[in-house]
């Protein structure tokens, strides 16, 4: 993992009084050893990217936001302390990819619940609760966002995640491939298929006049 040492050193310094800045390996070793300062350092380092990723994909502050942050960090720690180590170019980018995965799972869960229990049919919809000013523009933007979230939650998970990592979070294909544990060619195929599927669903939506 290639998180800049200076970031970690600064964080470590704020949590301990040791004069020698810890290396990334020291922090990770601290996490493996269950040392609280190391977990706190890791949290502080990665929280911005985790929060930004969750909020970028989910957009609204739902009641389960804290749960999603916690799930993201649990997965991060499990992977760091588990036997399966991943080779990534950047620790924060890798954490972002985990948060993207968590966000995607959350979207899929919401879609499933909405479909199964018709939650949206009772009471005012989220769209109707959007407040003015420029209500129409906001309504249109919100509808577009909801369609996109719904569409991604229905797509093949690997394709959707590749699309999010590359197109939304701005990672290069090599980095996406590394994060997902596949070859660059496979990542390229997933991205291409994800684009095709997104366009196909948009075309179907246009035909149905759902816009």
């Amino acid at each position: 993992m290639g998180a800049p040492k200076s970031e970690l050193a600064a964080l470590h310094a704020s949590h301990t009084s040791e004069p020698t800045p810890p290396t990334q390996e020291a922090v990770l070793a601290g996490v493996v050893a269950g040392e609280r300062w190391a977990h706190a350092a890791l949290y502080d380092l990665l929280y911005p990217v985790v929060a930004r990723t969750l909020q970028k994909i989910l957009r609204e502050s739902s009641g389960d936001y804290e749960d999603l942050v916690q799930v993201s960090f649990e997965r991060i720690v499990r992977t760091l302390t588990g036997e399966r180590r991943v080779q990534v170019m950047s620790l924060s980018a890798w954490a972002g990819s985990i948060a993207a995965h968590v966000a995607l799972d959350a979207l899929r869960g919401r879609t499933r619940e909405r479909r199964l229990f018709e939650r949206e049919s009772s009471g005012p919809s989220r769209v109707e609760r959007v407040a003015a000013p420029s209500l129409e523009r906001k309504l249109e933007a919100r509808q577009q966002l909801e369609w996109l979230q719904d569409t991604l939650s229905r797509m093949n998970a690997d394709q959707a995640q590749t699309l999010l990592l590359h197109d939304v979070l701005g990672h290069g294909l090599a980095e996406v491939a590394s994060m997902m544990g596949v070859t660059v060619a496979a990542a390229q195929r997933r991205l291409s298929r994800g684009h095709q599927e997104l366009l196909r669903r948009a075309a179907v939506r246009g035909v149905r006049g759902d816009q």
């Binding site: 799972d105 093949n156 197109d167």
Partner: protein, 332 residues
């Protein structure tokens, strides 16, 4: 970088900066999450201790490598050509795979390769995802048990047996291939779609509930079959349909779509867009027949039969066509 401008446009809600994103102050209990992180990293150590954990990890790794090598050899010998392994990911909670005499708990978040045999079971608050080489994704929700024996068995068909609980299936459209969820009460056959099947225990016995999110499925049950499209549901007859708003009573076609009492006929995959047109034509013909506009009914049925000769609705349309023509001939 997004190269396709249309894709960029569609993804704009995610990529455009949102004014209030940075200003949001979402409340997160940092200490609680850090404590949870510590718990997670300490969890294995609580049982074994640090040194024992390293030794156990090495032993496990060696055992796993040996088992993988041996399993792969056995798998190559035992698996018919065309069959493939499946990947299972435990998303949360306790997920147990049983293959032969061996039972193992799956690691959270780590993909596990399994051969299509045995069972997979989730406990309360657990969730798992099965991915097949054919691109199918099947989510197992909590308290669910499935049999994997027929999953990916052949190139043209595969099936998942749902003992109890609920599964959600995302099935890519692949002409010539079928995927079926089998319960004690029904067979749910996909036609390239997203759907859920649950088996719930009720006072009168297990009840199967099918809900289609996207695309179309065919539900076969003793005494007939029903075709379900997006947002439609079906429930088996062991209990009156009440939990799901759109659920239809058992043995009744959903939204007046025709059912047949005949044995299962070969299933041909259809594209959802043509299925909608086929359904529309059949409905139109039936509506005209009811109104007594027999000429218009004949036109609609004939259009369906000639334009979509392979349609699953074609037999119904042909039967209706014969009936209407008989009525026309008997007119003075």
């Amino acid at each position: 970088m997004i190269t396709d401008s249309r894709v960029a446009e569609l993804l704009a809600p995610f990529t455009e900066p949102e004014d209030d994103l940075a200003s949001r102050r979402l409340q997160v209990d940092r200490e609680k999450i850090v404590s949870r992180m510590v718990d997670v990293s300490l969890a294995p150590e609580e049982r074994f201790g640090s040194r024992a954990r390293i030794v156990a990890a090495l032993a496990l790794a060696a055992g796993f490598a040996l088992a993988t090598w041996g399993g792969a050899r056995l798998w190559r010998q035992a698996t018919p050509t065309g069959a493939a392994g499946i990947e299972v990911v435990a998303l949360r909670g306790s997920v147990t795979g049983v293959q032969g005499d061996k039972s193992s708990d799956l690691s959270l978040g780590a993909p596990t390769q399994l051969s299509p045999e045995g069972t997979l079971e989730t406990s309360q608050n657990a969730e798992a995802r099965i991915k097949t080489s054919a691109g199918m994704e099947i989510d197992l929700l909590e308290n669910t048990k499935v049999s994997l024996a027929e999953l990916g068995a052949t190139r043209v068909s595969s099936a998942l047996r749902l003992e109890h609980g609920r599964v959600r299936c995302v099935i890519p459209h692949q002409p010539g291939r079928t995927f079926t969820v089998v319960t004690a009460a029904a067979r749910v056959i996909d036609v390239g779609t997203i759907f859920s099947v649950s088996v719930e225990q009720t006072a009168t016995g297990p009840k199967t509930v099918v809900h289609v999110e996207d695309g179309e499925v065919l539900v076969q049950y003793p005494g007939g079959q029903s075709r379900l499209t997006a947002s439609q549901s079906w429930a088996s007859g062991s209990e009156p349909s009440k939990p799901i708003a759109a659920a239809a009573p058992a043995d009744v076609a959903v939204e007046e779509l025709p059912t047949t009492q005949s044995p299962r006929r070969d299933l041909v995959k259809h594209r959802p867009e043509t299925l909608a047109a086929e359904t529309k034509l059949l409905r139109s013909g039936l509506a005209n027949e009811r109104k007594g506009e027999l000429g218009a009914a004949v036109t609609a049925f004939e259009t369906l039969v000639t334009r979509y000769p392979d349609s699953q609705l074609a037999p119904d349309a042909k039967a209706a066509l014969a009936r209407v023509k008989g009525r026309l001939e008997s007119r003075p």
